[in-house]
Amino acid sequence: MTRSEIRAAFEDGPALVSYVAAGDPSVEASKEYVEALVDGGSDVIELGLPFSEPVAEGTTIQNAIKRALNAGMTPDAYLDLVRDLDVDVPVVCMTYYNLIYQYGESEARSASENASGDEPRASGGPEEFVAAAAEAGISGFVVPDLPVDESGPMYEACREHGLDLIFIVAPTTTPERLERMLDRTTGFVYVQGRLGTTAPATRSARTRPRPSNACRTPTSRRPSASASRRASRPARSSPAARTASSSGARTSTSSPRAWRTTCPRRTSPTASNRSPRS
């Protein structure tokens, strides 16, 4: 299975990035959906690894994640699924930091060891999962609860294994923070078009959001790419993608409106040509 680099996906202009919660409703179905989405024109697949506490998700994805977990999805099963995928677009792993952090030798992090007073996380960390993900064919990570400020070890691990660590630029992001993010960005950054979490656009912010003022502020470096995490309509919606979204009763609850797509409304996305800071 070969797969292009994430940056390549943006080379020809806007790219369609589609999200699927892995294992909802089953591993087999996820495989089919991903392949159908790619057939239908998706340029990047964001494959969610379900975490029990998806704090950045709206109702739709929360429910999808819950179904996936109930159906038995685990990090190992997720990696197996990735290995099995027959697609030639980049697959980005979207998950929360605790799953990445805990992967591997769990006994080493048992309570009794921690109680010894040692620096507890010496025994945990993102390295093992990043290595396994790279081996399985993942191209990059989106970790919504890992802001740039906490991303040191993850950044190191990704750099070591040649994976992209993708940050999200929010409407609230300050120029100073953007600066810090770009220092660690590889692949692309998300530009979140609207305040809030992933969700259908039915609930909007009470205050009118400042539209991505960070990105509009002139900076020395341009954001490498931008994507709305939650456009209310896909920028490009191929018939096949529509088919995938309605391929089963359960799929439809991973509503298309919740899928993340590129959103070229404000800045035209281009593939990043900045390589990771060495």
Binding site: F51, S52, E53, P54, V55, A56, G58, T59, Q62, N63, K66, L69, T74, P75, Y96, Y97, N98, Y101, Q102, Y103, S106, R109, S110, A111, N114, G117, E119, P120, R121, G124, P144, D145, P147, V148, D149, E150, G152, P153, E156, I168, V169, A170, P171, T172, T173, T174, R177, R180, M181, Q192, L195, G196, T197, A199, R203, S204, A205, R206, T207, R210
Partner: protein, 434 residues
């Protein structure tokens, strides 16, 4: 918040908000500016008492909240145990629990910051009620997120919130309990971050919440130290508090651990007092450990049995599966029923400064009955855990137990559970059987 490392390993990141390896700010980017703004406000208003914020807080928690709360000698328990037992009476704080110390502090801070709206999560409804109270008092619009299941089983607290004119937003997702409510509140905050402050209910979440909530709650231990001087003539041998998220715990421990930093504390009340044992009593539930296959822990003893991980914005000790999925905790006491714990508490346990212990559901229920019967104080089921630990305590005293709240809210549960378990300690309710 001043220096922010761009170094590449956690070990080298020594930012504010870390307690040893715990703490931090693991939140979505959209919230980071809010969290930074809050950390800045915390430093200015709370730590540096800018605009007299802390003076204002202290005056209000005294006049509106009813501080100081008494330190009462428990005569009958002292006799039972053969050592002096003192009760710190947070049950007498306005609203019926220590929760108001924090809620009032945060809502007042939000006002100083120019925020115009408050959101908060609530599980059993105690924090939601305290927040709604503080908002009514300070004239701030308030929305509380609460799981649908909790809405239905905690009706009196829902009534109280509504009566204080807070919106209560039922969350219909998932199991409809605390974690879904937290999720929704985060989401609201992320959506309305510019004019809205999120009042977190315990010493959890991203920095500055754990430090800030601790500081607001530290009035408890500040008073205990002063009152001990007057009543005991010495410091107590031990302070015992229940630990859910850990806010009453940190509140009761902070002055002794020397970790709080609320301006205006009386001389000497925050000098570290290493001779005072600090015992955090967790909910042992029906048994310890985690059922991996079911993703379920029949307890919420994250300090005693949990492992390190990242949840709700902070690195801390958690109840989780080997893979890192958070498990469903369990306790007969809704307020202790949480899979995480404050990062500072996790750190103090690792450091050996705080000793984590636990008592099970039955012991807590028995302690509820014991305190009610022997001392005329109906404790919250949460606080009953701290009281229950006295049965196992082996020192000579004096011991201070933090009674974090009153148990009126728990009457139905206690009667039901006591009957189901056929507890000897429970009085018969046959007065109703006619």
């Amino acid at each position: 918040m001043s220096e922010r490392g761009t170094t590449t390993t956690d070990e080298q990141e020594t930012r504010a908000g870390k307690f040893g390896a715990y703490g931090g700010q693991y939140v979505p980017e959209v919230l980071m500016p809010a969290v930074e703004e809050l950390a800045d406000a915390y430093e200015r208003y709370v730590l540096a008492n800018e605009d007299g914020f802390v003076d204002d807080f202290r005056a209000r928690i005294r006049e509106f909240g009813g501080r100081p709360t008494p330190l009462s000698r428990a005569e009958n328990l002292s006799e039972r145990y053969g050592f002096d037992v003192y009760l710190k009476r947070e049950d007498l704080l306005h609203g019926g629990a220590h929760k108001l110390n924090n809620a009032l502090g945060q809502v007042l801070l939000a006002k100083y910051m120019g925020k115009e709206r408050i959101v908060a999560e609530t599980g059993a409804g105690q924090h939601g009620t305290a927040t709604a109270m503080a908002c009514a008092y300070l004239d701030m619009p308030c929305e509380i997120y609460m799981g649908r299941t909790d809405v239905n089983r905690q009706r009196p607290n829902v009534f109280r919130m509504r009566i204080h004119d807070a919106e209560v937003n039922p969350v219909d997702v998932g199991s409809g309990t605390l974690k879904e409510a937290i999720n929704e509140t985060m989401r609201d905050w992320a959506t309305n971050v510019e004019d809205t402050h999120y009042v977190i209910g315990s010493v959890v979440g991203p920095h500055p919440f754990p430090a800030m909530v601790r500081d607001f709650q530290s009035v408890i231990s500040e008073e205990v130290r002063e009152q001990s001087r007057e009543k005991l003539g010495e410091l107590p041998e031990a302070v015992v508090a229940c630990a859910g998220g850990g806010s009453n715990t940190m509140g009761a421990f902070a002055a002794f651990a020397g970790s709080a930093s609320l301006p205006g504390a009386p001389e000497g009340t925050h000098d570290p007092a290493p001779d005072v044992d600090l015992l955090a009593v967790e909910a042992g539930g029906s048994s310890l450990g985690v059922d991996e296959s079911e993703g379920y822990a029949p307890n919420s003893a994250s300090l005693s049995t949990g492992s390190e991980g990242v949840l709700h914005g902070a690195r801390t000790k958690l109840l989780q599966t080997e893979e890192g999925q958070i498990v469903e905790s369990h306790s007969v006491s809704a307020g202790l029923d949480y899979a995480g714990v404050g990062p500072e508490l996790a750190h103090l346990v690792d450091e050996g400064r705080v000793t984590p212990v636990n008592v099970d559901d039955d012991a807590a229920l028995e302690a509820f009955h014991r305190l009610s019967r022997e001392e005329g104080i109906i404790p919250a089921l949460e606080s009953s855990h701290a009281i229950a630990y006295l049965e196992e305590y082996e020192g000579d005293g004096p011991v201070v137990v933090n009674v974090s709240g009153r148990g009126d809210k728990d009457l139905d549960t206690v009667i039901e559970e006591s009957t189901a378990r056929d507890l000897d300690a429970a009085p018969s309710m046959e007065v109703f059987e006619e």
